[in-house]
């Protein structure tokens, strides 16, 4: 003790850091990750919030690489995916959902423009995997398997890659140069592709090629028929054949008045195609109401804008020359259509049946262990493996909703489990994070911003050509759109916790490294958790 201290001062000045106020705490803040609703919803399992995070800073290549870990086709997805992620988006409760699909397309187009390539696995496994069918599911699996270091061969029965993306989705929704480029990028990874190669006996093909595992994704290409009593003079076609022939030299002859029978997306595609081929009238006959139509509402809306007409609550009873007999229906209390006995006549030059598709399962004849039900192959939903070991399947040939995104997801999931199966291990599936609900968002911190609308070609132009209907985003509005993401349940380094702590008990670790709590001083007031915009902090009771 120095004698030079002022009067009555006996201690040296000390810092309050000696006072560890963390001992006051009854609850501690903890950083958490929650599952954003978009990610939870995505059938392809994309980490949407994750890739938007990179897009927000304009780092589009990193965003694209993050996205393509799960889905190798962003340019295709950005055009044909039904983006159920946007319906789930929490931002819809503040203003409107984030235009996830349009940013995805922007990233996909940017990758094509800049010729970004996929990285190839450094270590080869020495295993050979056969993929049957070069559609979205098969090519997704081929991509994932190649990335995991397996030798991949794709057998495709048709003359071109793409499957239903080529033979089922019209050009005005998916330009063929986009499709070709995203397919080629996978072939360029060293995937062996054999076109015009129909597999008729899978067991034999496996033995012949010495394949260690197979992923089947042959799709559903056989048009369902309905029994319609018809005279010879009637021109009745099936939707699959009409859309397929659009890819060939000869355009289908449909005439001026085209009737399409069915209520799915294929029916809409055929009607819109007929308009573009010069039909003055394209009429969809559907037995239920618009609310019950399985077709995606956005496509129905676009079709109606283009002048496609729909006869709701109607079935076709018979056809005689150009005259179709239509019976009016009514919905019963269960929502099922019931005949009314009221008939009318509809004139048409051709009738196109779009009543769904069946799977050609003949290649599986005699394979032991398989279970077929409702015309599709049963698989373990966790692994996509059929009852026959080493034989996996996905896409339209297994029980699931039939669309491109689901198919891509099947391909990814199957590839990961094929890899594990080949290595004799299991896929480590960490338990999913708790969901990032809107209640956990502190919406004060997000200012209102309208969704950027993609420019649309005007109706007159799009019905007379096969030009793409949806336009894309520009650099500027893609950035704007990406920045509308709330980053639900995952820290985006806004510094709020670091700023609002009355005790300086949050340590900022610098860009990309987030924050940590200094429990020596954290009193557990909970201000950080309350003021975290995205709900990435949870208060957990201390053990007493």
């Amino acid at each position: 003790m120095s004698m030079r201290k002022p009067f009555a001062i006996t201690l040296d000045p000390g810092s309050s850091l000696a006072n560890k106020t963390g001992s006051w705490r009854t609850e501690r803040p903890v950083f958490v990750h929650r599952l954003p609703p978009c990610n939870a919803q995505c059938p392809a399992g994309e980490d949407i919030q994750g890739w938007l995070f990179h897009a927000e800073s304009g780092d589009y290549e990193t965003a694209w690489r993050h996205l393509t870990r799960d889905n190798p086709f962003p340019a295709i997805m950005g055009r044909v995916c039904y983006h159920s992620c946007e319906s789930a988006c929490n931002r819809a409760q503040i203003d409107t959902s984030v235009g996830i699909n349009s940013v995805e397309r922007f990233l996909g187009d940017e990758a094509l423009k800049k010729s970004w390539r996929f990285e190839i696995a450094s270590a080869q496994s020495g295993k050979k995997v056969l993929v049957v069918g070069a559609g979205p599911s098969g090519m997704s699996a081929a991509y994932q398997l190649r990335r995991l270091g397996h030798e991949v061969t794709v057998f495709e029965a048709g003359p071109m890659v793409g499957g239903m993306m080529r033979f089922g989705i019209p050009k005005y929704r998916l330009p063929r140069n986009v499709l070709d480029a995203e397919m080629q990028r996978i072939v360029d990874m060293g995937v062996t592709l054999r076109l015009n190669t129909k597999v008729t006996d899978i067991a034999q093909t496996m033995r012949d090629g010495g394949f260690d595992a197979v992923f089947l994704a042959v799709g559903a290409h056989i048009a369902k028929r309905a029994y319609i009593p018809a005279k010879d003079s009637c021109r009745i076609l099936d939707a699959v054949a009409v859309l397929r022939s659009m890819e060939g030299e000869e355009r289908p002859m449909l005439g001026r008045r085209v009737v399409v029978y069915g209520g799915g997306n294929t029916a809409i595609d055929v009607a819109r195609t007929a308009k573009r081929l010069g039909a003055t009238e394209a009429i969809i006959v559907y037995r239920r109401t618009r609310e019950r139509m399985p077709a995606h509402d956005l496509e129905v809306e676009e079709a109606l804008q283009e002048g496609v007409m729909v006869k709701w609550l109607s079935t076709i009873k018979s056809a005689d020359g150009s005259a179709l007999t239509i019976e009016k229906m009514r919905l019963d209390e269960h929502g099922n259509p019931q005949p009314t006995g009221e008939f009318e006549t509809l004139e048409s030059d051709s009738l196109v049946l779009a009543l769904g598709q069946d799977v050609d399962l003949s290649l599986l004849d005699g394979v032991p262990g398989l279970v077929m039900k409702n015309g599709v192959v049963q698989v373990d939903p966790l692994t996509m493996m059929t009852g026959h070991p080493g034989l996996f399947a996905g896409g339209d040939m297994v029980p699931a909703e039939r669309n491109v995104t689901v198919a891509v997801g099947h391909g990814k999931k199957a590839a990961r489990h094929i890899d594990a199966w080949l290595r004799g291990s299991h896929v480590d599936t960490a338990p999913k994070h708790e969901s990032a609900t809107f209640e956990r968002i502190n919406s004060w911190y997000y200012s209102d911003a309208p969704k950027t609308m993609r420019p649309q070609l005007d109706v007159a132009r799009r019905t007379s050509s096969f030009d793409e209907v949806q336009g894309g985003l520009t650099q500027d509005n893609a950035l704007f759109e990406a920045r509308r993401c709330l980053s639900c349940g995952n820290c985006f380094e806004c510094d709020n916790c670091y700023g609002v702590c009355p005790d300086n008990a949050v340590i900022k670790l610098g860009p990309g490294n987030g924050f940590e709590f200094n429990y020596d001083y954290c009193k557990g007031c909970g201000v950080c958790a309350a003021e975290c915009p995205c709900g990435a902090i949870e208060m957990v009771a201390e053990e007493v």
Binding site: L11, S16, A18, L486, D495, G524
Partner: protein, 344 residues
């Protein structure tokens, strides 16, 4: 930090229009509090209650003043919570030269320090001393006990920024009413009993308006709910000379009977309801107001605080609530607080 970035927020729609920081923003435009290099003028280990608004407001304000003066800052403190919880002998939380004298004389001590700095500069042949002075206190030390000294400091236009951290009562001594306690609030000396429970209507002082009446160079109000606004006001004040006054609303979880996690939320609702107008005035004239972004009725603000619980118990006191709402509405009219488009 330049003026532009503060008065017109940069809109990101996600990450920084209203948050403390923003990884997408140019570092020079980021808030002081978002910086790893911030001074932490009021350091960890202080003994303020959990969720203390005053501790938060003091760090916000003093760190901003430190940034604005390049660390050449001396703080004078009145008696009160801030002084007691930051400097229990022999510890201090302050990371700058700091002096405490009496409850009521912070403004006068500030004046003295400023005079000393002036003399030192003159003796060194300089026009100004680089070091600047802030004086700070709670509402009791400012609006009641230190009011005479403060008015004198204003009147002489001494070169001091006086910051009042207003938590609307004497919290340190057990929540007694001050002249900043709002009407109807329950305190130890304005019990929630009788015909007029809580503090009286028509009493108390509005110190920002009294400061404006002195026609000093700068008067402003702020809250802990709007950091960027608070920092820009401190920055602006430190770029001016003469007497300046900043009045910061700092919710007190203990005295207001609120959850400790709601400190910022309550300050935000005080602004959004019109109860606490946020504005700045140069030489006695209001020059800028912070518009209400999402207007709420005063009940949303009051309901989170037990000091107003008697207004909602049983049949409640709709007459008193209407009176409080009318006062908020008067603030909204008086300061023109409604934005053209409330959706901002």
């Amino acid at each position: 930090m330049d003026e532009q970035s503060n008065s017109a927020p940069i809109r990101f729609y996600q990450t920084g229009t209203f948050t403390v920081g923003n990884r997408l923003l140019d570092p020079v435009h980021r808030s002081v509090q978002s910086s790893i290099e911030r001074n932490n003028s009021l350091n960890s280990g202080h003994r303020a209650c959990q969720g203390c608004g005053e501790a938060l407001g003091a760090r916000y304000a003093v760190d901003a003043a430190m940034r604005a003066t390049d660390g050449q800052l001396i703080a004078v403190n009145a008696t009160g919570c801030l002084e007691v919880f930051s400097t229990p002998y022999p510890e201090t939380s302050w990371q700058l030269p700091w002096i405490h004298s009496l409850f009521g004389n912070a403004a006068a001590v500030g004046t003295g320090v400023a005079a000393a700095l002036k003399i030192k500069a003159r003796k060194a042949g300089l026009q100004h001393n680089d070091a600047r002075v802030i004086a700070q206190g709670g509402d009791g030390g400012t609006t009641d006990i230190g009011f005479g000294c403060l008015s004198g400091m204003f009147e002489r236009n001494d070169d001091v920024l006086y910051i009042c951290y207003d938590n609307e009562a004497y919290m340190n001594t057990g929540v007694q009413r001050s002249s900043a306690t709002p009407p109807a609030a329950h305190t130890a000396t304005t019990m929630a009993v009788g015909e007029h429970p809580g503090a009286e209507f028509g009493q108390g002082k509005n110190l920002p308006r009294i400061a404006m009446a002195h026609e000093i160079p700068y008067v402003a109000t702020a809250t802990v709910a709007d950091l960027r606004d608070l920092e820009s006001k401190v920055h602006k004040a430190m770029n001016l000379r003469g007497a300046r006054y900043l009045h910061i609303l700092v919710p007190c979880p203990l005295g207001w009977g609120a959850a400790s996690c709601d400190t910022i939320k309550i300050a935000r609702l005080a602004c959004e309801s019109g109860i606490f107008p946020v504005f700045e005035a140069l030489y006695g004239e209001v020059t800028r107001v912070t518009k209400i972004r999402r207007r709420v009725p005063v009940t949303e603000y009051l309901k989170l605080q037990k000091r107003f619980a008697h207004l909602f118990a049983g049949d409640g006191r709709p007459d008193m609530l209407a009176h409080i709402q009318a006062e908020a509405d008067r603030n909204i009219r008086r300061y023109d607080l409604l934005a053209e488009e409330v959706t901002a």
